[in-house]
Symmetry: C2
Subunit: 164 residues, 2 copies
DNA sequence: GCTATCATGTTATAGTATAACAACCCACGC
DNA sequence: GCGTGGGTTGTTATACTATAACATGATAGC
């Protein structure tokens, strides 16, 4: 992946490289696990990465149709199901949208910083937050299976304060 | 409100009282702030509380129609908009559903424990989690405006471990 | 090649939410 | 009282998100 957690928020990053890396990692990961990253699934993953922003399913569908006339909603939703199940894509619940996973090899919960102005999303993936949440929930007798953490606000470029 | 954060998860709580309290608090709060808690909005709030579970908008609509034939989707969505804007109701993003706010007087972010088996939802509202998230985000130059934290799993009644 | 399995195509429909404009109501000032 | 103006609700239509159900096609192991 190209750079740290905030690379998405910076004006320009080498997004071609960033997408290529993601696809290469996905290929390798699927090969290791014996998963079938078909042409369709690979292409959907590529389209998800193509903007480095949360992408909605029907936008993906529109893109797909340009090159695959027979694409229908199940086409894209099934590809997304596969990609999400195998941790290559995350769903952003508060936006009904999808983003490529920045680190599919590191097991992690979904934690996202979402800029309401430029729509960029960065994956936070902070262990301390995850552990604090898990500890508090466990302390109440609750068994945690999935954490959904979505932080909305302004990224550094769009009005955020400078890092200390 | 009737009891602590986990009262929702216990077999039986005095839910009539719990709903009455919520409505009384809402009335008082709106009176203080000069907000118009109309009959419709009050009734929708009551319906949201009626199950002490996440309720979907179209279920509310169905309930409403039993007594107000002219109710349509905007009827319920507009009431929900008002209730959410004034912190009387929370939206659970991962479920497309709505729950009554357990403590509208305490300013707080939305943090929820959601049992996938019995569908009960408890509002966590833990300051340490909120502060940890805020600190981490701020450290990256991100200005936090809204936190969405939804923890899915099993509640104590449905298979969670006992609290220590 | 045969066959079981998984993947995709295809059609239809379910579920969630908002746009746009009309009608109504009520508080306020005249 | 009367108008008037803003906020609330009614009404119709439509946009957006997602899945069901069954048919067809590709793939891999035997
Ligand atoms: Zn990820
Ligand atoms: Zn931004
Ligand atoms: Zn209750
Ligand atoms: Zn439960």
């Amino acid at each position: 992946m190209a750079g740290d957690v905030l690379s998405t928020f910076r004006g320009v990053h080498d997004h071609g490289r960033c997408t290529d890396d993601a696809l290469a990692t996905a290929e390798a990961l699927c090969a290791e696990k014996g998963l079938r990253l078909t042409a369709l699934r690979r292409r959907v993953l590529e389209l998800v990465w193509s903007r480095h922003q949360p992408v909605r399913a029907y936008d993906l569908l529109e893109d797909l149709r340009a090159e695959r006339r027979r694409a229908a909603p199940p086409t894209v939703y099934r590809a997304l199901d596969f990609l999400i199940a195998n941790r290559l894509v995350h769903r952003i619940e508060s936006l009904n949208a999808y983003v490529g996973c920045a680190g599919p090899r590191n097991p992690h919960v979904g934690q996202f910083l979402i800029c309401r102005k430029c729509s960029a999303v960065a994956e936070l993936n902070d262990g301390e937050i995850a552990r604090t949440v898990a500890r508090k929930a466990r302390g109440l007798g609750f068994t945690v299976e999935r954490q959904t953490i979505e932080i909305a606000g302004l990224c550094p470029q769009c009005g955020g304060t400078r890092a200390a």
